[in-house]
Symmetry: C2
Subunit: 335 residues, 2 copies
């Protein structure tokens, strides 16, 4: 027979209410010592709270489900830290589910693992769902937000950086440092998430405003990977035309940097690299990479806040999070 809160109250001498508060991780109405005694007794007796049963009865869950890609981006941990922080403040719990690497079946398993349980909502981190899985999600009536990914049609809730602003800000910064021939590398300008297309738009806008005529080979598309950076630099190297490049991710930036190292191109003297993301990877390599640093922590924190507060609100919410420049090693060109 399973141990109940009453058994623990009886064993310790505390009230059922106090035992319940301690075991629910509530704070403020009992001493540390009381908590210690109750927790020790609960452990000794083998007490196990059956939250699933409670949730089924009340139909109110305190769980936020987070879906991430299996091959995670290096910024996922920052987003998750923001999610955990807000969830902790609001006394909610977080479960994380891996959705494979652009694999339809894995996505569906992650989604169904979330939807088959009592949850208050779902956060999807940079997960570009297949249409079949998006249909399952949208028909579930469970609140959800996409984080760090945006969509063309604006019919889905998402919280991401303003990608056009990222492209614009990065390009303007390089122009302010005297660069005129500026590459943009490693981004996908065609997929359903329009991150890359928006960044390219911001880049073109900044060039246009500065009276710089864009050359088509300045754009080297890719998939935000290390390899995209390597390939982009090889293509740039053939023309020897650019003095600075905007990398679509930290990994693209490091791919470019390492290929420069192999080809004896001095960074930043011969080529300045400005990456997008600004995770700790920028500080591990030498020279350290400058970046347009996105506020991933805030995306996670805010997404969780909206999920918790707006569970009945069906209005589409698209939030743009601002970013900052982290300048470490860029070459300034004097004209």
């Amino acid at each position: 027979m399973s141990v109940t809160i009453k058994d623990i109250a009886k064993e310790t001498g505390f009230s059922v209410a106090t035992v319940s508060r301690v075991l629910s991780d509530k704070t403020g109405f009992f001493s540390q010592q009381t908590a210690a005694i109750i927790n020790e007794t609960a452990a000794k007796l083998g007490y196990k709270k059956n939250m699933a049963a409670t949730e089924l009865v009340t139909q109110k869950s305190n769980v936020v489900a987070v879906i991430v890609n299996s091959t995670k981006t290096n910024f996922s941990d920052q987003i998750i830290n923001g999610i955990q922080k807000k969830a902790d403040e609001a006394e909610k719990r977080v479960i994380i589910l891996y959705a494979g690497d652009r694999d339809e079946r894995s996505q569906r398993i992650a989604l169904s693992t979330a939807l088959e349980r009592p949850i208050l909502g779902i956060l999807l981190l940079s997960v570009d769902l297949f249409p079949s899985n998006l249909a399952i999600l949208t028909s579930s009536n469970i609140p959800f937000y996409f984080i760090s990914i945006s969509f063309k049609d604006n019919m889905l809730n998402y919280i991401a950086s303003d990608d056009q602003e990222i492209g614009y800000q990065a390009t303007n910064y390089l122009i302010s440092q005297g660069h005129k021939n500026i590459g943009i590398a490693g981004l996908n300008i065609e997929n359903s998430a329009h991150t890359g297309a928006l960044r390219f738009k911001g880049y073109q806008k900044a060039l246009r405003e500065a009276g710089i005529v864009f050359k088509s080979d300045w754009l080297q598309t890719g998939d935000y990977s290390y390899e995209s950076g390597v390939t982009a630099l090889q293509n740039y190297y053939l023309k020897k035309d650019i003095t600075a490049v905007i990398a679509a991710s930290d990994l693209v930036g490091i791919g470019i940097l390492n290929e420069c190292n192999r080809l004896k191109i001095n960074v930043p003297a011969e080529l300045s690299i400005l990456t997008t993301d600004g995770t700790s990877l920028c500080e591990l390599v030498r020279p350290q990479l400058s970046s347009i640093t996105q506020d991933f922590y805030r995306m996670g924190y805010l997404g969780t806040t909206y999920l918790i507060n707006n569970t009945q609100n069906n209005a589409y919410t698209n939030i743009a999070i601002s970013q900052r420049q982290s300048v470490k090693s860029l070459n300034k060109i004097e004209h």
Copy 2:
């Protein structure tokens, strides 16, 4: 009123059994097209499988709970990929919970989030539990395995590399390359997990067998962090005594490398660095770092296998996973 499998069977014309198989992600008894129709209909009708209810009735869960530190090691993803692979093969689901960064309360929240729900067992990834939390875990009667962490008393189930062998193998390899003055840096030889103590033991054994007298300043302890590597190199630099160093983690190795870069010490000509872990970080830096490469994927895969197969078996299981050398940039000393 909620939509049932029967409703979907009625709507699509398929049998309840077929609908059930499709919606449970079973394979082999229906065509892709059947699956598509059933899934579309389920999505259209807003079908939501209530697995928690099913699990409460049957008392059999198909969920593996994985607990990780919030400040994750860079090898956690490899372990989780191994876990996901095995879980997928066995038709189990995986939920991941963050346990803070050596924080007692966060650990307890992660543990209770797992234990309050129907799960078949828990895997703890490099999580060094506080005694109070370990008591909760061991008294829960839920099967568990620790992964990539080992314990002195051998009274807990764990699956990890053979850390003494790692220290022995690393040292022997450097000796075989002509090194005699070999540092070991960034490891903790005192905490309850005895990873560092075992590696140091293997290191000492290899030195002894080669007739090399250990000098106390060759050991630079730390906490497996980047900063530990930086500090270790600064201490080595004062003596200028060693020609090679074994780093306790990839991050320790990169800390040493970057501090060498700052102090104009040529790697590997003046100092060979052999790191422990062997994650992709070793390939991002220049020069690339050689490593004793641990098989983290296999740890996750095997841990999940044991959890699924041995849920009734209370014998302590401690498995050592072998590792391999990945040599990229080491200096050979000719005598």
